[in-house]
C-alpha cells in the first residue's frame, strides 16, 4: 500500500553504494552479508511462484477437461462431474461491487470528516474506533452477521421492500430469506469501510497545503475548497483506495460464507442467495469426493488468486502515482 519509497532512512545512500560495491571489492564479511540479505529477500518471490505452481498443477486436470467453458458454464454437478465457475465468479463480483457501492460514500465521507471538519477531540476517538473495527476478525463479523444482521435485514429491509416494490422492481423480488447477496454485500461493506477510510485519509492529508490555502485566499468557502480543490486533487488516490478495498472484499471468506446463503446459482434479485468463489472453497473443499472435483476447486482458487492480484496491483499503482505527484 505504501508507494515505492524514495531513498530514506539510515540505510540509504552509503548503504546502497556499499552493498553495490560488495560483490567485487570490500570486506569478505560485507560480501557475505550482502549475499545473505539478497537470498532472504528472494524467499518471498520464490514462495509466491511456488504457490502458483502448486495450485496450478493441482488445477490442471480441470483445466484440461473443461477448458474455457469453465468460466461460462453455470452447472455445478459434483455427482456427474460437470463443473462451471460462472455462478461463483458472478457472486464474488456482485457482492464485492455491492459492498463498494455501499462503503465508498460512507468511507470517503468519514475520511473527509476526519481530515477537514472534525475538531481534534472528536477526530482522535473516531479514528481510533475505526481502527478497532478493522482489527475485528472476520469470523466474528460472520457470527454477528448470522444472528444479528440477517434477521434484521429480513424483517426491516427485505420483507417491506419485497412486499411493496417486489413486483415492480426486479431487484427486490423473490422470497426474503435473509441470507442473500444483499447481506453479503452489507457485511463486506462494513468490513472495508475502515480500510478505505484510512487510506483516503492519508491521501487527503497528502494534498499540499498550498492548494488549500490558495483556494481560501481566492475567496472560496470551506465547502468549496473541499469539494472543488482538495477532492479533485485526491481523487486518483481515493480511487486507488477504493480498488484496494475491492481487492480486500474479493478475497474475504468467512464473513461472506456465513451470510450469503451458499446456493450455486446466479442470483436473480438482491434478496436471493448467492455463492462466492471463496465460499465454495471454504464449504466444499474438505468434502471434494473425486479428483476432478478437487481439481475444479483448485481452478477456482487459481481464478480467485488471479483476480485479486490484478485488482490489488492496479490499486497500488494508482495510490503510488498520487503519492509521487504529491511529493513533488
Amino acid at each position: 500500500m505504501q508507494p515505492v519509497p524514495e531513498e530514506a532512512g539510515a540505510l540509504a545512500g552509503p548503504g546502497r553504494a556499499a552493498l553495490a560495491a560488495a560483490p567485487g571489492r570490500g570486506n569478505l564479511a560485507d560480501r557475505v552479508y550482502g549475499a545473505a540479505l539478497v537470498a532472504m529477500g528472494l524467499v518471498i518471490p520464490l514462495l509466491l511462484g511456488f504457490i502458483l505452481l502448486r495450485v496450478g498443477i493441482s488445477a490442471w486436470p480441470a483445466v484440461r477437461e473443461f477448458g474455457g467453458g469453465f468460466l461460462t458454464s453455470t452447472e455445478w454437478n459434483p455427482v456427474e462431474g460437470r463443473f462451471g465457475a460462472l455462478p461463483f465468479v458472478f457472486g464474488t463480483l456482485a457482492s464485492s461491487l455491492l459492498a463498494v457501492l455501499i462503503a465508498v460514500p460512507l468511507a470517503v465521507g468519514l475520511a473527509l470528516f476526519l481530515t477537514e471538519l472534525a475538531p481534534r477531540w472528536i477526530a482522535a476517538p473516531v479514528a481510533f474506533g475505526t481502527e478497532l473495527l478493522a482489527a475485528i476478525p472476520s469470523v466474528v463479523y460472520g457470527l454477528w452477521g448470522i444472528f444479528v444482521l440477517v434477521p434484521w435485514l429480513r424483517a426491516w429491509v427485505q420483507e417491506p421492500l419485497a412486499n411493496t416494490l417486489g413486483d415492480s422492481v426486479g431487484l427486490f423480488r423473490g422470497p426474503a430469506y435473509g441470507v442473500s447477496i444483499l447481506a453479503g454485500g452489507v457485511i463486506l461493506a462494513i468490513m472495508i469501510v475502515p480500510f478505505i477510510s484510512a487510506v483516503s485519509r492519508e491521501v487527503l492529508s497528502a494534498v499540499p497545503r498550498v492548494q488549500r490555502e490558495g483556494a481560501l485566499a481566492l475567496g472560496a468557502t470551506r465547502w468549496e475548497m473541499t469539494w472543488q480543490v482538495v477532492l479533485p486533487y485526491a481523487v486518483p488516490g481515493i480511487i486507488g483506495a477504493v480498488i484496494l478495498g475491492l481487492g480486500r472484499a474479493l478475497g474475504e471468506t468467512m464473513a461472506v460464507t456465513m451470510v450469503i446463503g451458499n446456493r450455486p446459482d446466479i442470483p436473480t434479485s438482491l434478496f436471493s442467495p448467492g455463492y462466492t468463489m471463496a465460499s465454495v472453497l471454504a464449504n466444499e473443499f474438505s468434502e471434494a469426493s473425486s479428483d476432478l472435483y478437487l481439481a475444479a476447486l483448485m481452478e477456482i482458487s487459481l481464478i480467485l488468486f488471479g483476480i485479486t492480484v490484478v485488482v490489488n496491483t492496479c490499486a497500488r499503482f494508482l495510490v503510488w502515482r498520487v503519492a509521487r505527484r504529491a511529493g513533488r
Partner: protein, 239 residues
Amino acid sequence: MSAPAQGLAWRDRRRRAVNGTMLTLTGVAALLTVVPLVLILYHLLTAGLYLAEAQGSRLANAVRFLTDVMNGIPSIVIGIFVWAWVVVSMGHFSALAGGLALAIMLLPMVTRTTEEMVRLVPREMSEGALALGFTRWRTTLGVVLPAARSGILTGVLVSLARIAGETAPLLFTAFVNPYWGWRLNEPIAALPVQIFQYATSPFEEWHRLAWAAALVLIGLVLAVSLAARFLIRSPFKDR
C-alpha cells in the same frame, strides 16, 4: 463433533462445557500463533532489512512489489496451497501445517513493517557508525537494528494479532480437534475455526458458546493490538 453430554444437570453441563471449551481454545490459539513466529523468526528481520538496504535497486523494487502482492492473496488460497503441499504429503492434518499457513500469511506483513521501521531510523546514526570505522554489516546489525527494535516489535505484535483471528487458512490444515493437545503432528483446535463451527451448527447451546468464544477472541486480538501500540514506544515514530 458430539453434542454435549447427556445425563448431567443443565447448570453443571453448561459450566463444564464452557470451561472446557474456553480452556482448550484459548491455550491452543496461543500455541498456533507461536509456531508461525518460530518458523519465520530467521526471516523476520532479514527480508525487511534487505528491502530497506537495497533501496532503489530494481530487484528490491520487484521484491517489494511481490511482497505487496503476497499480502493481497486471499487467506483461503494460502490454506489450500499448504493443504496441497504439506497435508497431502503428510497424509493427515496437523498443527504444523496450520502454523505454516499462518506463517506464510505473516511473512509479507512483517517484512513490510520491518522495512518501514528500519527506514525510520535517521541517516545520521548509520553515517556516524560508518565514520567511526564500522563495517557495513556491523552498522546495520549493531546500530540500526537495535534502534529500530521497538518499532519492529510493534509491527510483529500487530501482525500476530491480525493473523490470530484468521480462520480460512486453518480450515484444511489444522482442521479441528476437540481435545487439548500440544503435539505438532496432530490436528489442533483454534478459536476462529471453532467459532465458525459452532455458529453454523444447529445447536442453540453451541451458538452461545460461539458468542463467548468470539468475546475471548476479540479480547485477545484487541489486547495485543493495543499493547503493541501503546506500550512499545519507538523513539523515532512521531516525528
